[in-house]
């Protein structure tokens, strides 16, 4: 029993040690703090997507909509309403979550490819609004003229505006809270009903689980954390443009989740790390970096269908 627990805890310990010390070693391996922050933010988005994909068995191809709503909500709050980073993040997350909660009932009865298609369609609606509504969203040029602001906590002020490390740790704290909450939910009776739906929807239904209601809840939870990630993404870049809402962004989240391993809790984070690092490295060498990421993705799917983490896990087990 004791050995088993150590085995189970080992990945958590490794992940947290790496994340906590990232600003100290990243520059020695050719990275920079903003890159690490990107990994954590996109990792959060991919893990949020995976709450729905890997643990409820529902594939969304429209999560960029809520990522983008979180980003625009956050950016527009700072730009137009109040100069408060904290409040802006809350507004962004709430806006994305409410949109998901409203759209949810319209789509949760659909399954498989139909669900995926309709989530894309809804996502594109928000994309075109952001794209066309120049005066408010900045249109194709994106929303500029604002930056993230220092965090006033009453007793002290954290300068996340100029200190990249401080911002990284703020992101990491929110990442820890979010993933902690997701892990906690997944280990609860509610979480087990979601896994039951993933495993066999018909059986779940005939156990007395109102499947549509549970899928709606999983969808809203997933979109809530994706919205938060979107808000953080806007803060990281001090900028947001309609591409954050575009359907290819949704595809990137799916790629990250599948690449890392959608049946493992940390898989999507690993996927996001691989994706971000590959993009950073390849895009400095070639304009066609996307084809290389695509090729890598195809290889992983063909040879390691359970993703990079799934493969490592199998190695360790055998």
């Amino acid at each position: 029993m004791g050995d088993l627990d150590i085995n189970k805890q080992a990945p958590n310990v490794v992940v947290w040690l790496l994340l906590l010390t990232m600003p100290f070693w990243l520059s020695h391996v050719g990275g920079y703090v903003q890159l690490g922050t990107q990994v954590v933010v996109l990792g959060l988005a991919a893990m949020a997507l995976n709450f729905l994909l890997g643990y409820t068995g529902v594939l969304s191809f429209g999560h960029a909509a809520y990522f983008g709503l979180g980003a625009y909500g956050t950016a527009m709050t700072i730009r137009y309403l109040v100069p408060s980073t904290g409040l802006a993040l809350v507004v962004g997350t709430v806006v994305g979550t409410i949109a998901a909660a409203i759209i949810g009932p319209l789509i949760i009865r659909l399954r498989g490819v139909y669900f995926a298609m309709v989530t894309i369609a809804f996502g594109q609606v928000f994309y075109f609004i952001a794209f066309r509504w120049n005066t408010v969203t900045g249109g194709d040029d994106g929303l500029t003229g604002w930056t993230r602001l220092p965090l006033h906590l009453g007793f002290t002020t954290i300068d996340i505006q100029n200190n990249a490390n401080a911002f990284y740790y703020l992101v990491l704290v929110l990442f820890a809270l979010s993933t902690g909450l997701m892990a906690w939910l997944l280990r609860s009776p509610f979480g087990r009903t979601l896994i039951a739906i993933r495993e066999n929807e018909r059986r779940a239904r005939f156990l007395g689980i109102p499947v549509d209601q549970h899928i709606w809840m999983s969808w809203v939870i997933s979109c809530c954390f994706v919205s938060l990630a979107g808000g953080l993404y806007a803060l990281l870049n001090n900028f947001v443009d309609p591409r954050a809402l575009y359907w290819t962004q949704s595809g990137d989240f799916v790629i990250m989740a599948v690449l890392g391993g959608m049946r493992s809790f940390w898989g999507p984070l690993i996927g996001a790390a691989i994706y971000v690092v590959l993009r950073d490295y390849l895009s400095s060498m070639t304009e066609n970096w996307e084809s290389f990421i695509g090729l890598f993705f195809v290889l992983v799917v063909l040879f390691f269908p359970r993703g990079v983490l799934g493969m490592i896990r199998r190695r360790v087990m055998s």
Binding site: W184, L185, S188, P189, F190, R192, T193, I195, A196, E199, N200, R202, R203, R205, F206, L207, G208, I209, P210, V211, H214
Partner: protein, 249 residues
């Protein structure tokens, strides 16, 4: 008072009448078998009772309540549980996790983000009880998808039982099983019927199982009721022999 009354149920798919004006009354504590040749409409009939399909016409009265248009989950809450012809379990979860999910949902925890220590204890105890009853204890931590067909079926039946049903619907519980497995499942069903006084309706092809278990038998052919009665009457019924038993034997 009868537990289940199916009244003049018809189910049409386009021009095909799969179930044609079938009525059935099942008493509390009864074990009823539904038999009939392939394509007789047995599973369709079953699906209208469990809520998988809505009948074209007719009524289903359970415990004096009209449940004809209730969703499956709501029928489960009222005490109707079922298994499927092709076993429906959670293949990538262990036997324990399969049963645990069913027990938790039944105990009303399906939306709970956490469990108290006491509640957790109670659920574990109930899961262990269910595994003891079915001889699945030594396979508790195996993935159900890796188990033999008979054990998967036993898991499915115990999941249905975890729901504390008042009526258990079993769709061909011994389909695709060897002799030993058939015997084991038959004994399990017999135990549930005798020891727990559970009301059971089952569809079955294996006549040894049917005549061993059933209190009453209903025979369907081409969507209609061909005969209904005690096993010995059914065995002696000429129309049944012609339509079904003759072919099977």
């Amino acid at each position: 008072m009868s537990l289940l009354r199916v009244e003049n149920v018809t189910k049409q798919f386009g021009s095909l009448v799969a179930v044609n004006n079938v009525s059935m009354t099942v008493e509390q504590g009864e074990l009823r078998a539904v038999i009939g040749p392939n394509g007789a409409g047995k599973t369709t009939f079953f699906n209208t009772i469990s809520g998988f399909l809505k009948p074209t016409s007719g009524q289903i009265i359970f415990n004096d309540e009209d449940i004809t248009s209730l969703l499956p989950a709501r029928r489960v809450w009222r005490g109707v549980a079922r298994t499927f012809q092709i076993t429906e379990v959670f293949p990538e979860l262990s036997v324990r996790e399969n049963l645990r999910t069913a027990v938790e949902v039944t105990a009303g925890y399906r939306l709970s983000p956490w469990l108290s220590g006491d509640a957790d204890e109670e659920i574990r105890a109930r899961v262990t009880e269910l595994m003891d009853m079915s001889g699945l204890v030594d396979k508790a931590d195996r993935l159900v998808g890796e188990l033999a067909h008979g054990d998967q079926r036993a898991t499915e039946i115990m999941m249905a039982l975890a729901l504390k049903p008042r009526l258990l619907l079993l769709d061909e519980p011994t389909a695709g099983m060897g002799d030993q497995e058939t015997y084991d499942i038959t004994q399990l069903i017999r135990k549930l019927h005798h020891d727990q006084k559970l009301t059971i309706v089952l569809i079955e092809h294996d006549m040894r199982v049917v005549f061993h278990l059933a209190d009453r038998i209903m025979v369907l052919a081409e969507g209609k009721v061909l005969a209904e009665g005690a096993p010995k009457d059914i065995a002696a019924n000429e129309a049944v022999q012609a339509a079904y038993l003759g072919k099977a034997a």
